[in-house]
């Protein structure tokens, strides 16, 4: 019988380590572990090494621990009216500009919205930053033990200020996205939810399937009955964030998708007349608030006809 390999010893050591750290640890098990460690220096070394690595990873939990249990519904304190008004005024001051803001019926709940073509960045009461893309509405509730945001429509970039005692949760329909300390983007379209993680880790869950953990560089696309996780190239991910710089980046994108994308940013809608034209693809970077550069390209390079009918622009062969 040959001696166990290093890998076998490590695997055994990992089992011991996990069991010992699991919590249900008894004196009897400790005696057995001690005996195993005593058996050979190789056992001890393997155990020390894994224990050191596992111990280092404790930092992950210490620095970013979201509450697992669904947090209790926060007790709605009747805030003194004066305090409430002051808070409201401060918030309005912070989000000047085109952004609409109003305080909803519930205490502490606020609604922020952008119109078509607008973009707005703001700082929430907890110090987290969010940026609303075109035609977007969120409701926020920053309570004592929980930070909650409902994305009613549109697209939002989140840069969450970490606070392990107050998990940051984004609700989209029946999906729930919990930040584990990070930067991420959530986009809600009619039939689809898209979560892109730029930094850190987030958890995506719904009522039907097991939670998905998304890490940096991953995008989850969730529709009614399935969730798909992809890892695009860093370039593609940064292109998808072009809206923060006011641009739309296309890479072999069909005209149908290009039109849909521009239409998010303008009340003048682009219509592609026929399926054949719609399936042509283009590359390029265009200002999101101005589809004229794209029209020129369509006319000059693709040789398409562009018909501005006022309120609607029809592109055809």
């Amino acid at each position: 019988m040959s001696a166990p390999t290093a890998t076998e010893i490590q695997s055994r050591a990992a089992d011991w380590l996990l069991e010992r750290r699991e919590g249900q640890w008894s004196d009897e098990r400790q005696i057995e572990l001690d005996a195993w460690l005593e058996e050979s220096l190789a056992h001890r070394i393997a155990y020390w090494r894994l224990d050191a690595a596992w111990g280092r990873a404790d930092l992950l939990g210490a620095m970013r621990r979201p509450a697992f249990q669904r947090p209790p519904v926060p007790k709605r304190k009747a805030w003194p009216n004066l305090l409430r008004i002051t808070a409201a005024v401060l918030t309005v001051g912070a989000v000047a500009g085109a952004l609409q803001w109003f305080e909803a019926g519930k205490t502490g709940e606020k609604i922020y919205a952008t119109a078509v073509g607008e973009r707005e960045r703001l700082t929430l009461a907890d110090g987290s930053q969010i940026e609303l893309n075109t035609d977007t509405q969120v409701r926020t509730e920053i309570a004592a033990n929980q930070r909650k945001i409902w994305l009613d429509k549109g697209e939002v970039y989140f840069e969450v200020k970490h606070n392990e005692k107050k998990p940051f949760v984004v609700m989209v329909g029946d999906h729930r996205i919990t930040d584990i300390g990070t930067k991420f983007v959530v986009r809600r379209d009619r039939n689809e939810l898209k979560v892109s993680v730029l930094e850190g880790v987030v958890r995506l869950e719904d009522s039907r399937t097991s939670p998905k953990i998304l890490t940096k560089g991953e995008i989850a696309v969730a529709s009614a009955n399935r969730t798909e996780i992809v890892r695009p190239s860093p370039r593609a991910l940064s292109d998808a964030m072009g809206w923060q710089r006011g641009v739309l980046v296309f890479d072999h994108t069909t005209l149908a998708d290009v039109a849909a994308e521009f239409n998010r940013y303008s009340t003048t809608k682009i219509v592609i007349a026929d399926p054949k034209t719609a399936s042509l693809t283009i590359d390029g970077t265009f200002p999101s608030n101005n589809s004229r550069a794209f029209m020129r390209l369509a006319q000059a390079v693709l040789g398409l006809s562009v018909d501005d009918r006022g309120g609607e622009i029809v592109i055809s062969k």
């Binding site: 990992a14 050191a52 280092r56 953990i213 560089g217």
Partner: protein, 194 residues
Amino acid sequence: MVERSEISRDDVLSRPQSVPMTASELEAWFVHEVLPLEAQLSQFLRRSWRNASDIPDLLQEVYMRVCEAAQKQVPVPAKPFVFAVARNLVIDHVRREHVVSIESASDPDAVETASEEPGPDRSAIARDELRRLEDALDRLPPRAREAMVMKKVEGLSRREIALRMGVTEKTVKWHLNEAVRALADILYGPEGTQ
């Protein structure tokens, strides 16, 4: 219980060298002085030994020889000693197996040493460490990573993880086992230096 945190690196290094170390002193010395060399050490072994699948066993053997020696007398500084042990081990194996690798004699001192600048402040260290851990997390196999995040970040029990992942506790145990080992390889091994 193994009490490790009480013994600092300075305690170990400032003790009289002739006195044998206790088990926990040896552990502290191993974790602080030897483990950080693992990346360079496995790089050296990889270059000196053709068969990559032997590396974990060679590494274990180096560690055993180093710790056996350290039990009697702590080598200060640790690094030259560890690499001398590694070189001798490779030479032993080459002789035993009559396999001559061109690089077997490669000089461990030529292995580039990480610059050892005086330490940045603690918060910078913590940030770097967190970034390293996040990278490590990124590189774990997906299911192992998922289990590890639930365990470490969310502090769930094995049973809770099993429920959430929709698998048996035994499978969770297996994923976590893989995660622990991969994590150590990434944090200490050549993976961690990329």
